[in-house]
Symmetry: C2
Subunit: 383 residues, 2 copies
């Protein structure tokens, strides 16, 4: 019925799934329908969004979390397949649903590219022998609605409005990255909360700090960097702004709100990564986080803690869960409290910050959390 | 496992699918897996895009085709379910996946609204007892990838670039609306070509014409209305422009290219419908269609033919399939041939135009075409 397909233009997935049973896979635990016990090896497919490589070379919080998660699951001995766009840089089995990340994020092309990626992923998963799929992308969970393998989704963004309607309509088990995110839409089909995490050892710790306060993140209106810069100036503290500014919205915001604030005490050092990022974080007096929305997590805040750097933050979204007021930073109810908090950042013990990161936000905790949810979902399906 | 859902905010589909076996359905033919013969009644779910009501009150070519198709299938005695956004205005069983069309077409909200609609539709279809799903929307086919019920898709737009990749990755049986569209991407899994159609009797026929040439359609750059207006002026023929102009892209194009051409001989009458539309079409000297892309169909061209109005068109996309050069209109290879063709429109017999519409583009032909494909797909699954 279906027309012949020219082999020269054949879909990429045909080359990938023609040998579904690798030698690796043949040693895996039981059938999909069999009960999986607490110590058994699981066959897990992790689906990443298409927009950045895994791990990301620069910006890409979700992609970083996906990378750390699959690496951690491999360390636990699970049979892990990472489905993503681009090329493999992980020890998990890597399946490329697209040869490279598409360019259209934030453009009118984005919907077609989202569904195109989802179609490729859906075809791959139709032939995959796995116990559970863990989906981090937007359109890909649609392919799970009528499938037999259990699928869980991590909600990485907001959960109100259209996206909340989407999760509600999907009805698939949903994992929150913070209690704030979960409580913002309590009727969604949550099955747990697993805070994002980092490899704490990847971050440099410094006990002695420089004078500057730091903003690190996208230069978007909802990140409120201009409010942070103004607060640092009021505090008489030098301010460093590190962040990408290449999408149209970012540039427009930067030109109108941030550029006029630059001067001898306020410096923009663009997007930073690698050693420059870890050093800039570790030597900062404090990180300033002033979300203008209910930010569902705040990965940069836990990176600061890992660096022994206190966090000065507005009490919004997940930040009260991450920052212990007076112990690992200062929480402010209003922007006019920020200058004093920035001044008093030196009262916070850098060792307390690092200790909080190790005990609460190291990657092992996140892997524990997801492993527990995978087993619950698989067992409840088998029962 | 899945958290409790507050009944007050329960997903709409729970209210719809709790009674899947209606009395209507119980009289339908056989089980999904049984062979379906040529005369048997089929259980067909038609999935429309979410952006306009079915039928559309104004603009909405795909939605108009969906409406005419489901009405035609009901007339043949099939058990037809229309899945769409908004309220029922059809004799088919109507299932609202959303209470109203969402507002975000062409905005950054569009991807989330597409997937949100697809999730609702996917959940509905998971419980539906149908023999075949006929999908006209963007993201909804993703939910069919791992489903048991056969799904066919009509490609209503272009088939190159990302959207071609999407159809290729989906791998679902695809129906073209013109040979031109199909030939533009011959490696896609085509299962047939079914030209769009209209209810010819809904269009008024006029043998005697007024002087004006007409453009009818969206005021978008790819529709080339400014070229049509310039050609009419060169021909010394008054020109009427009828078309919606409310999206940002349309307004920008209109201001730069169309507005400067307006004058005593060139009039813009905005979006028209109902009697005004059928009269304007029927009394035009000719319809001018100057696509600046490989337009995959051209519904307005067959509406003109039904009105006995010749079509002057560039030889692009599907137009050479719709217009018979010298019999129902004139095909031009270059815009500089348009003025002469507009002048010579009066040489075309309006009765020949109407006859072509009746024999080739009346809705019965389209229903025949899809009915045949449904039966092929269902039978091949059952075999």
């Amino acid at each position: 019925m279906v027309g012949e397909i020219d082999p020269g233009r054949a879909p990429r997935f045909t080359r990938i799934v023609t040998k579904p049973a690798s030698s690796n896979r043949s040693t895996s635990s039981g059938a999909v329908s069999g009960a999986v016990h607490g110590s058994e090896r699981l066959r897990i497919a992790v689906v990443a969004p298409p927009w950045f490589e895994i791990p990301p070379s620069g910006y890409g919080g979700i992609e970083r979390v996906c990378f750390d998660l699959v690496e951690g699951l491999v360390d636990r001995g699970h049979d892990v397949t990472l489905v993503a766009a681009g090329t493999s840089r992980t020890r998990a089995r890597f399946v490329a649903a697209l040869p490279a990340p598409p360019p259209g994020l934030g453009t009118p092309e984005a919907p077609v590219q989202e569904v195109s990626y989802a179609a490729a992923v859906g075809r791959l998963l139709a032939d995959a022998h796995v116990d559970v799929v863990h989906d981090h992308a937007l359109a890909t969970p649609l392919t799970a609605l009528r499938a037999a393998v259990p699928t869980i989704i991590t909600a990485h963004g907001p959960t109100g409005g259209s996206i909340g309607e989407y999760f509600r309509a999907l009805g698939l088990p949903l994992v929150a990255i913070s209690e704030a995110q979960r409580l913002a839409a309590p009727d969604l089909p949550w099955v747990g909360t697993v805070p994002n995490a980092i490899v704490v050892d990847d971050f440099r710790f410094e006990e002695t700090k420089d004078a500057y306060a730091l903003f690190l993140g996208r230069l978007s209106p909802e990140k409120g960097v201009h409010l942070a810069a103004a607060a640092a100036r009021t505090a008489g503290v030098p301010f460093v702004i590190a962040g990408k500014c290449n999408e149209e919205l970012e540039r427009a915001y930067f030109d109108e709100f941030v550029a006029p604030l630059l001067g001898p005490d306020t410096t923009w050092i663009r997007e930073i990564g690698g050693t420059l990022k870890t050093e800039t974080l570790a030597r900062a007096r404090c990180l300033v986080v002033v979300p203008q929305w209910e930010e569902p997590f705040g990965l940069v805040a836990i990176e600061a803690l890992a660096s022994g750097t206190p966090v000065v933050a507005l009490r919004r979204g997940a930040l009260p869960e991450i920052v212990e007021h007076g112990r690992t930073g200062w929480l402010c109810d209003h922007v006019d409290e920020l200058p004093d908090a920035i001044r008093r950042a030196s009262e916070i013990d850098p060792h307390a910050c690092r200790a909080a990161a190790v005990s609460r936000y190291d990657v092992a905790r996140m892997v524990d959390g997801y492993e527990r949810i995978y087993r619950r979902v698989v067992t409840s399906r088998a029962a």
